[in-house]
């Protein structure tokens, strides 16, 4: 159902359903996410966006559905069969959280070095070589710090590298979380409301950062966002969820004019059949909001 403009399919979600007891949070959702594209998932509160993310990143096991990730180097992964922590480690999916989850008592640099845990763990010979202080480990740690430095630079956090992460201002914490996710060297970056709580200037900087990640690091991005200035400006494709269902998919322009989307955001009148004039009025007024 989703033509994705001919780009290489990175992630394919097919018939994803997630039930919590009697509640159907996500109901038969299918979509694709492509390499070098920003795919936004939007929808009203409670539409199931974060649940989709949690299924993709292994925090939930989907009730029904298939989640396939095509890693350009490591091959294909069926995410619903993998253990949670292996998804970032092997399939290369990194994520951020709606309510920021850093390691607050640890320094900014430590947060970024930790994101390279698995590489360093192997280099330290599962601590044996590290305990003996072997060169191989020291070299690996230096490289990890270099990668951390690169992302500190990109997120303009270099000056605060030795700060406790919990003492950073809010906007910096948001950027640090993205930097930490990027330090795991992902092929797909999932961002859960990265612009929440940012002021317009910070939002604009975030847009720049995300476009940089897409264009320079050539990875796919999935984005949950309420801030339409972010969504409409940077998304290549938008997927709209409502009550757990996928109600529309397309480019920002298509979505702006989709009557189902407008109805989901502005609500339905009690009357089943909307008078034609009202529908047209709604359609005209909605995209500007």
């Amino acid at each position: 159902m989703n033509g994705n403009g001919g780009a290489h399919g990175l992630i394919a979600v097919e018939h994803l359903t997630m039930r919590f007891g009697g509640l159907v949070a996500v109901d038969d959702v299918s979509f694709d996410g492509a390499d070098r594209q920003i795919t936004a998932i939007i929808g009203p509160n409670g539409a199931g966006k974060t649940t989709v993310f949690n299924c993709l990143t292994g925090f939930y096991k989907p009730t029904v559905g298939r989640l396939t990730l095509n890693h350009p180097e490591n091959g294909q992964f069926l995410l619903e069969r993998m253990e949670g922590y292996q998804i970032p480690a092997r399939a290369g999916i990194a994520r951020t959280f709606q309510n920021i989850r850093l390691f607050p008592a640890m320094s900014v640099l430590e947060n970024l070095v930790l994101a390279q845990h698995n590489v360093l763990m192997r280099a330290s010979g599962f601590s044996v070589a590290g305990l003996l202080g072997m060169r191989r480990y020291r070299e690996a740690e230096r490289q990890a710090v270099d990668l951390a430095k690169y992302w500190l630079d990109r997120t303009s956090l270099t000056e605060r590298a030795d700060w406790e992460a919990g003492n950073l201002p809010y906007g910096d914490q948001r950027r640090l979380e993205i930097a930490r996710a990027m330090c795991t060297k992902p092929v797909l970056l999932c961002l859960d409301e990265p612009a929440a709580g940012l002021n317009p200037k910070e939002s604009a900087e975030l847009n720049k950062l995300l476009l940089y990640v897409r264009d320079e690091h050539r990875i796919g991005l999935l984005l949950i966002e309420h801030d339409m200035s972010v969504v409409m400006e940077i998304s290549d494709r938008i997927i709209v969820l409502d009550y757990g269902r996928n109600i529309a998919a397309g480019t920002p322009d298509e979505i702006k004019n989709n009557p189902d989307v407008i109805r989901a955001y502005l609500g339905e009148t009690e009357d089943e059949e909307l008078p034609a004039t009202v529908a047209r009025d709604l359609q005209d007024s909605a995209p500007r909001s």
Binding site: P88, R95, F103, A115, H117, S127, L131, V145, R160
Partner: protein, 504 residues
């Protein structure tokens, strides 16, 4: 906000009645408490027990509480002058009496002291000195932000201690090494030092689990017991020596740690604490009831003493062999063995410390700390929480096991009696009091919690009361521990950032 010292400040008027009322309440409270606790005492007399009343002491206690509270209120209300003079006078009189009593016991100056116990008298004097110091401080910084100031001061002290660990550590180590040869070091003091060092080592071991990985373990004594019994059983059944058994004891304890780790992988916080508590009791109950194997409540005796590279510390070695003193041509001294045990536990503690400091800077150590901070975030960056938790449990338990085999070889006799919950509680108290994750803090806390009570033996059962009171006070004033300060394991700018940090 604070006016510069020297200028007069306008203070709100003192409500004398309210002040007296508050002090009186405290005095009544202390009176009610002391009436039962201090007022009556059983004493052995020929033909049975007799109840002795000490109501005079109860009144003195209430009076001291009244005056003390009054002093605290005056300090709080920025009126230090009366406290200054009062505490100075009181401390001077007390010190004169106490020192006079030490110098001339015949004069029987104790009659004039307020309390029957010498230690309590000293403590009250110390309290008066603290009041005096506080009054001087208030007088000099007449500032309102007293509480905030104290917090900041302690934080700064903690940070400074942590940063200067490079100097303090070797210094303390030097003192520890020369300690047995100081003239003051007699058998009694050495025994206390060994005890303190044992708890320092156990504290450092538990610090890995509680301080770094953030897994609240109330059953740490179980691993201590596993280590002790591993050594005792291997030594008595297979006739193996201490040095051969030590690694085995560590491995067995680590295995026990993994055994505990698996069922509690999904638990956090209080739930984890309860299960670990149960695990600690389980091990003790097994040791108690598996009579055929562990000899149950009878315990295991005749556990071999450690030897110095095969040289035993005995006066008369069996024919054809040499003992430590004859090999080195020294006079036999029973203290040799104690000194050797002392160095042994210091070495074991140092190994624990070195290992912890080292592993903290490795990926595993950082992952432990990350796990303490946020397990969900750990999974999102590909850290395997299961393995990370299990390694923390296993390595913490391993050091507990080393400590246990040391305990067994020192005592020569072990029974399940030695591994009750109170031991776990004390080790945990050492870690919490010292400051979770702080190595120097743990050592400091072990000296305070284990060493000081030995000097206050005279207080008998009130020792535990004082112990509890000290813990409550720490939790109120320094909930993160005395010397809690975390230094990052890696810095981008070891000499400070290139640009001036904006103040936050």
């Amino acid at each position: 906000m604070a006016p510069p010292s020297g200028t007069t400040t306008i203070l709100p008027p003192l409500d004398r009645r309210a002040v007296l009322k508050e002090s009186a309440y405290i005095a009544i409270f202390v009176f009610a408490l002391a009436f039962g606790l201090v007022g009556f005492k059983t004493e052995d007399v020929p033909g049975g027990l007799e109840i002795v009343t000490r109501f005079g002491q109860v009144f003195v206690a209430a009076l001291v509480a009244f005056v003390g509270r009054l002093g605290m209120i005056l300090l709080r209300e920025q009126r230090p002058v009366p406290v200054l003079w009062g505490s100075a006078a009181f401390a001077a009189v007390m010190l004169a009496l106490l020192i006079g009593n030490l110098a001339a016991p015949a004069a029987d100056l104790t009659r004039y002291l307020p309390f029957g116990s010498v230690v309590i008298n000293w403590l009250v004097t110390l309290l008066a000195v603290v009041f005096f110091g506080r009054a001087v401080w208030v007088l000099r910084h007449r500032s309102r932000a007293v509480t905030a100031g104290r917090e900041a001061v302690m934080d700064r002290v903690a940070a400074r201690v942590q940063r200067s660990a490079r100097v303090i550590g070797p210094l303390l180590l030097g003192i520890a090494i020369v300690f047995p040869f100081l003239p003051v070091a007699d058998r009694w003091l050495l025994d206390i030092a060994i005890l303190v060092a044992t708890y320092i080592m156990l504290g450092w071991g538990l610090n890995i689990v509680v301080g770094l990985a953030g897994l609240l373990d109330l059953g740490y004594v179980a691993f201590y017991a596993v280590g002790a019994y591993s050594y005792a059983l291997l030594a008595t059944y297979f006739d193996l020596g201490f040095w051969v058994c030590l690694p085995f004891a560590g491995i067995m304890a680590a295995f026990a740690g993994i055994l505990l780790g698996f069922p509690v992988l999904r638990l956090r916080g209080d739930y984890l604490a309860i299960v670990t508590l149960g695990f600690g009791e389980m091990i003790r109950v097994i040791l108690l009831n598996w009579y055929k194997f562990t000899k149950g409540p009878d315990g295991i005796s005749g556990i071999p003493r450690p030897s110095f590279f095969g040289l035993p510390f005995t006066r008369n070695p069996p024919d054809g062999s040499e003992s430590f003193h004859s090999f080195f041509g020294l006079e036999y001294s029973p203290l040799d063995r104690i000194i050797f045990l002392y160095y042994l536990i210091i070495a074991l503690a140092l190994v624990t410390n070195f290992f912890t400091l080292r592993i903290r800077k490795l990926p595993v150590g950082r992952a432990w700390e990350a796990l303490r901070e946020d397990e969900t975030a750990c999974r999102s960056i590909g850290i395997n929480p299961r393995n990370t938790k299990l390694t923390a449990f296993a390595i913490g338990a391993m050091f507990g096991g080393f400590g246990g085999s040391f305990f067994a070889t020192r005592q020569g006799f072990i029974s399940p009696e030695s591994f009750t919950f109170i031991e776990s509680a004390i080790i945990l108290a050492v870690v919490v009091l010292g400051g979770m994750g702080s190595q120097i803090g743990v050592a400091f806390a072990a000296v305070i919690l284990i060493g000081l009570p030995e000097f206050f033996r005279e207080l008998q059962q009130y020792r535990m009361l004082a112990f509890g009171a000290a813990m409550v006070m720490i939790m109120v004033w320094r909930p993160r521990g005395l010397l809690a300060h975390r230094e990052p394991t890696i810095r981008l700018f070891p000499q400070g950032p290139p640009v001036k940090e904006p103040k936050t």
